[in-house]
Symmetry: none
Subunit: 203 residues, 4 copies
DNA sequence: GATGAATGAGCTTTCATTCAT
DNA sequence: TATGAATGAAAGCTCATTCAT
């Protein structure tokens, strides 16, 4: 029965991959459960065995993306000692992650807003998680004297918004061609905005 | 026959108001033409007499909001001489405008992304208009020596994103209670981000 | 007030022409009163002043086509003395008339069947008129001894059907390129079918 | 699961029967999918599970009627050796088949022309199939010396038209009361039209 | 006479979800 | 577990017709 459990997990995984592909192709509303089932090489009933409804499928993907981003950012931060460098590392890893998962970025930043009111709540919660992460490190940097005191709540939100807009523009308008190319300027912008000196080093 | 034209225009206006209300209540996709018709005290046929389809109704509202914001911001800017103050004035008026048109803000910043691919294009075009406005004034400020040189393209995008996120948070999470309360901190954030000194004066 | 009457008649005529064009372009069901109004350079109200509804517009056109065909056929018949030649003349004129009014032919033979049950009645009545005309001349020919006795009721119906099919094929499939090219063979077919010798002369 | 498939096929059949009834009752355009669903004791969704759209439902019925007629006619022909008798047999079976499927006859000869341009193409193709069948046997009869040479292309078309008109008249005007009553006269007409002697025997 | 804004019943089609097998 | 036939509530949109001006 362990084998069966493994098979079930594998099927679940295949469904999630298929869902991601279809959501990315069509957007949340225009993605049909039928198409996801076909893409996952299973039946509609199979989908509903593993997920109670379309929304939960979508939310699972959102959570995955959030977890992926959060853990990568935390890893990058943990690898640095200097608060200022931590920020650079986090920004770099976030841009790199979005850059190599354009579909997920689109889902995360664009389609999620079209998935109805519950999705809005979910999304704001995710925004909050990121903002809290940023705020937490800003506060640490302030405590360490690396930063002047400031409203970390608003700053983190504004940071998130700034990054969000740059990535969204890349997703929808294709500019810049490589998302990572926005890194140097965005880094300068964010550092300045909280009063960090523009150190010459780079990630 | 002039009276008839006036009545038709009034009806068109009533439809737009109703559409705004229903879009704000339900989001773009879940807003039914039926409901808009009822809200406008018209028939469905009446809707389609004045607007060829649901999307055009939505886009008309988007354009209105964009025009409203743009013209108010430009007015505010024109009323000031000092580049630094111009920026403050524009930010203040944008926040004030969103603050008093919460439904339109929601439409503009949240629902528009859920209205399908064509809406994305439209929206990116609007984002561009605003970013261009910001960039234009940043460049003027740089030319006037009030600002150090910087990548105005990215800065304006990041500014737009930062403001966007703060307003979105207010729309969806209700924080801060009064959107204008975010002004002082946001002002500091934006000024710092482009290297403007935090002057003590306020709009 | 005579001038006004003339103007009204002219307008009515313009509407009929427009209706013919639109019906021919779209078929009865897909022809919109709106489009007819535009084509007639008048308003929808104008249409309804001159015709009580869409169907009457259509029926008027049908009657016109029927009258046109009937009178031309009768003229052609009247110009000949010999019963056998009368038949040739009628056939020739019918083919010639359809040939130069393809839109009307289409309306008459194809679209009319898609215009609902009342149209079916109307159409059968028209078929009957033609069949009666044919039957009447067949009987005269029999009485004159030019033809052996036969069931003129069925023969006329079958003649009408045969001609109908040839014309319909020309309308829908474009074969033969020139409808008149079907005349010689069709003439032979029809003459034989009632026992007329294939005389060498032609109309 | 075999039982399920059987049930599905039965349901499909029930839908086709219902569609036939409703199309015959209302004509193609005025037949509502709603009404077909009710008649088939199914849901509208069920209809669309088995047929992608209204037109395909209609076309399936058309093809059935065409196949039914063709195969019966071919059987009847195969059962006779003498070319002249083959023709009689085919005519008899066609009239008999229409006679016992009045609804299908109506669909086939009347409504199909009102079902839009695609239906016209489909219909002309079916006409062509029948005309080809007729032409083929006429040619065989000519080759066998049973018939003088003639334009089989036109003759077959005219035959089809003649039969068509007689049947249509029966469908729409109810004359003659029993369609088979038209057989003797129609037989004489068709035989004569291609130069066959009126043999005394009958099917 | 003429206009065109307004009506509203009606249409086909979609799709998340259920459930007997 | 898995299947896929079946459901049914909506949805967007059309268009013949009416009627106040």
């Amino acid at each position: 029965m362990v084998r069966e459990q493994l098979r079930a997990i594998a099927r679940r995984e295949r469904i999630l991959e298929a869902a991601l592909a279809v959501f990315a192709r069509r957007g949340y509303r225009d993605a049909a459960m039928d198409e996801i089932a076909v893409e996952a090489e299973t039946s509609k009933g199979g989908l509903y065995f593993h997920f109670p409804n379309k929304q939960s499928l979508f939310f699972t993907l959102l959570d995955r993306m959030a977890d992926l981003l959060m853990s990568r950012a935390e890893q990058a931060v943990a690898a640095e000692r200097d608060p200022a460098r931590q920020i650079d590392a986090a920004l770099a890893v976030v841009l790199r992650t979005f850059s190599s998962h354009r579909s997920l970025a689109r889902l995360f930043l664009v389609d999620a807003l079209g998935a109805g009111p519950e999705a809005h709540l979910k999304l704001m919660e995710i925004h909050r998680r990121f903002a809290d992460l940023i705020a937490c490190h800003l506060e640490a940097a302030i405590a360490a004297g690396a930063l002047p005191p400031l409203d970390t709540r608003l700053a983190s939100m504004a940071w998130f918004g700034a990054i969000n807009e740059v990535v969204t523009n890349w997703v929808l308008a294709g500019e810049p061609e490589r998302l990572e190319d926005a890194y140097p300027q965005l880094r300068v912008f964010l550092r300045r905005s909280v009063g960090l000196p523009e150190s010459p080093e780079d990630a």
